[in-house]
Structure formats: C-alpha cells, structure tokens
C-alpha cells in the first residue's frame, strides 16, 4: 500500500494535519497505537478561546465549561484576577479532551483520511537514507507503509523524529512532569481557572484547578523534571488537596499523569518528513498549553503537504514552507516565552509575592506595558531590577 502521507499519531496535531492534507487532495493514512483515540486523556484540558477562530470543531460536545477568567495565587496566597478578555487567551474553555480528539479525527476521516488503530510505528522505511514510509506493527502483523511524506505527530515521547536524525530528546529542565485528579463533590460555582505558584507548592511549575462543572474540576500539578524526585508531583498534589478547604472533601473520578515539553522549538522539516504538535515541541513554555498550536500548525502542515503532493516535490526546501509558516504564526511567541520562563524560574517566592502584591489591584482592562511597569515598581521598587531582563526581551522580540 502506498500513500502520499502517513501520519503517526491521531492526536490533535496529527488529525488536523491529516485533514488539511486530505482536503487538498492528498491520499492520507493516520496510524494510531491506541485502541481509542483520545484515551487515556493526558491533559489539563484548558484551552484558549482563540480555538474558535479556526472553526475546526463542530458542535459543543467537546466543551465542558466556559471560563469567566483566571486567578493567579502567589506563594503567600495573594491573588491576581485576570478578566475573561485577558485570561481567555489561555483559559477560555475547559474541554473533554477525548471527545475533542475524536471530533478532530472524525473531521480528518470526513476529508478522506484513512485511520488505522492499534498500529504501532516501529521504524522508518528508508531507501539509501531517503525516507520512504513507516514500518509498523498491528497486533502480530508487521506492515511496510510506503508514503512520500511521513508526519511525526507522536507526542512528547516522539521517536519518529529521532529515527530521522532530529534530536528531540528533552533535557529534564525542559519537561514539566504532571499528574491530575478530576475531583467531584467540590464547590466550583464561580467559573475561574485557578493557578497556584510557589517553590513549596510546585517547584518550577504550578498547581491548577480547572472547573468542568458546578461540582467537578481538574486539579493538577506540573513540576519541572530537574527539580522533581520520583513521585514528587503526586505527593505535592495530594498535600495541596488535603490542605485546601474547597478541595479536601472532593472525591476523584479520574487520575492521570502527563508530560509537557517546555523546550525551545526543534527543527521540524527534513526531506520527506514533518514534525507537528508536541513532537515538534510546539508548546508555550510558560503555560504548558499546546492545543491551539496543534490546530494552527497542523493546518499549515496539511496545506504545505497538499502543495508538495501537487508538485510531487518532497524535499526539505519544499516542505520548509511549513516551518516558515508556523514560526511566523506562533514560533516567535514560543521562543520569547522560553526566555521568559528561564528568567521567571530564577525568581524567589518573595519576588513572586511582591509581583502579585503590585498587581492585585491593577485594572488589567487598561493594560499597557508602561502602566504595568508603573504599577509594579511604584509599590515595590526593587522589582525593577528583577524585571529588567524581561523588559529587555519584550522590547527586542
């Protein structure tokens, strides 16, 4: 069997890439190792309202709840409230990721992509170093799937890129190691996403509470892997829940683990190969959010593939339209936010407390860099020194 494109992984990035490639007339196969798309969920399930901009998801079944805003708590508990307009960039909806992924896969299938489940990619097919497809295993059968383009949409632990010679190995300082309960029997009547910061709460990360309904929420933690120890995220999360009056009487209906790349972007194009989504490290290093990039980047990838198939040219130069496109669309933001992450990680809890104290009464409706800096520095002049590197980045990028 010969395809124009074989996509490894039916997560959001893989399905969206497949959909747009198929819509452009490419013959597309998606292989997925799991037995149900989107299951198990490995996600905090918060997503930007910008997801509406692309109109890729039909219906509302994938939406659990609409968020009115976000609250950020500094280590000493000082709260900074962000309105929907501002917070909506990161936390607009809390979703059902399994339904979300299945809806995107359905759209890919509707566009003409074929999906094979229970199918593990085990290597690349090569002819004199030229990638000619994917070697896969479905139950006991080994399959050679020939394709002009291979799309690596195989997530945080991506192997496909490695097989093609792209170093996608993550330094532990560039990985958030996470776990999350879905807790029920708790009080979430105000629809705010909550974030809790602090070295004792979540070293190099944060605890989140994302309401999915009036009495149910995702309560999770991310810890930077180089600051973690075996099992530390789960212990810290259990401790957080036990000491939070709102959460301590909750009961879990789901427990999951997660791994979020918070790295610099990698090379995403080789002859006959593209990397998308988490495999391409297309995740915001500050928030750990990646879903919007999967949609935006996947569309660019799919359209690039359509163009390449039309021209019957599959070399790196032809496919680099994708890399140029996604870097323009959101790569610059990721690069900048990686630098911000590195600086903020160096902040002591005391600095975060001062920041929150300066910002707690700030009216974010009138946001401008100057007003923000004024608000920060008027109350805590020593913040000026701490924030200087950040201001440098925002003026440069």
């Amino acid at each position: 069997m010969k395809y124009d494109v074989v996509v490894v992984g039916a997560g959001p990035a893989g399905s969206v890439t497949a959909r747009f490639a198929a819509e452009q007339g490419a013959k597309v196969l998606i292989i997925e190792r799991r037995k149900e798309i989107g299951v198990p969920v490995l996600c905090g399930e918060g997503v930007s309202r910008r997801i509406d901009n692309w109109g890729m998801l039909e219906g509302k079944r994938w939406i659990a709840s609409n968020m009115e805003g976000a609250r950020i708590y500094s280590p000493d508990g000082t709260m900074v409230k962000l309105s929907a307009d501002l917070a909506g960039n990161e936390t607009g909806y809390v979703i059902y990721r399994d339904i979300f992924d299945q809806e995107l896969a359905r759209q890919a299938a509707k566009a003409g992509a074929k999906i094979m489940m229970n199918t593990n990619a085990i290597g690349l097919l090569k002819d004199n170093n030229k990638i000619t497809g994917v070697k896969a295993k479905q139950f006991d059968d080994e399959l050679d799937i020939e394709a002009d383009i291979v799309v690596a949409a195989d997530g945080v632990e991506s192997k496909v890129g490695q097989w093609a010679g792209i170093n996608t190995r993550l330094d532990p300082k560039d990985l958030e190691t996470c776990c999350q309960y879905t807790l029920t029997n708790i009080d979430c009547k105000d629809a705010y996403c909550d974030f809790y910061l602090g070295k004792k709460i979540a070293p190099g990360g944060y605890v989140w509470v994302f309401p999915k309904g009036k009495d149910v929420a995702n309560v999770g933690i991310g810890v930077l892997a180089n600051l973690s120890e075996a099992g530390m995220p789960k212990k810290l999360l259990d401790n957080f829940i036990a000491n939070d009056p709102r959460l301590k009487n909750g009961n879990p209906i789901r427990f999951l683990a997660g791994a979020v790349p918070v790295a610099k972007p990698v090379e995403t194009v080789r002859d006959n190969l593209l990397l998308v989504g988490d495999a391409a490290r297309q995740v915001d290093p500050i928030t750990g959010g990646g879903l919007t990039h999967c949609l935006e980047g996947g569309k660019i990838a799919g359209e690039t593939i359509g163009m390449a198939v039309e021209k019957q040219q599959f070399d790196q130069e032809t496919l680099s339209v994708y890399e140029t496109g996604w870097k323009e669309a959101f790569g610059k933001k990721l690069k900048r936010n990686y630098m911000v992450k590195e600086i903020v990680l160096g902040f002591e809890d005391k600095t975060l407390n001062m920041l929150a104290d300066s910002l707690k009464d700030f009216k974010f409706e009138e946001i401008s860099t100057l007003a923000l800096v004024k608000a920060l520095v008027l109350k805590h002049p020593t913040l000026l020194m701490k924030l200087r590197p950040l201001m440098k980045i925002s003026s440069e990028v």
Partner: protein, 63 residues
C-alpha cells in the same frame, strides 16, 4: 552484580511518556500502553526514575 537498571512498574504506569522523552539513551519505549525499559541500553542514570510523576519507576539490580 551490575548497577541497578530502571524498571517500570506496569501496574502503576499511566503512559504519560515523560520518562521516554528525557532518556539520554533512548532506552525506553511505549508498548501496550505502558513504558518499558530496554535493559541493554539503560546506563543507570536514574533520570527516568526522578522524572516519573507518580513514582512508577525504580532501580532494580540485574544479575
């Protein structure tokens, strides 16, 4: 007696893939919805053990 090799408790593993992404030897892979260590590749660095959010990986001495 060699150094302890990483071993994934397959009853605990929740398939997040974090251990696989940080392994400097590409010694881990996902099979049947669980991570698995290739003993021959493991160099006992323990990075995966420290990375696992739920403590599903431990060191086990191989003979």
């Amino acid at each position: 007696m060699g150094k302890p090799k990483a071993k994934v408790d397959r009853d605990k593993c929740l398939a997040c893939g974090g251990c696989i992404s940080v392994c400097p030897q590409d010694a881990l892979f996902m099979i049947g919805g669980r991570a698995l260590v290739t003993d021959e590749k493991c160099i006992s660095c323990a990075i995966c053990i420290r990375t696992c959010p739920i403590g599903a990986i431990s060191g086990e001495v191989c003979f």
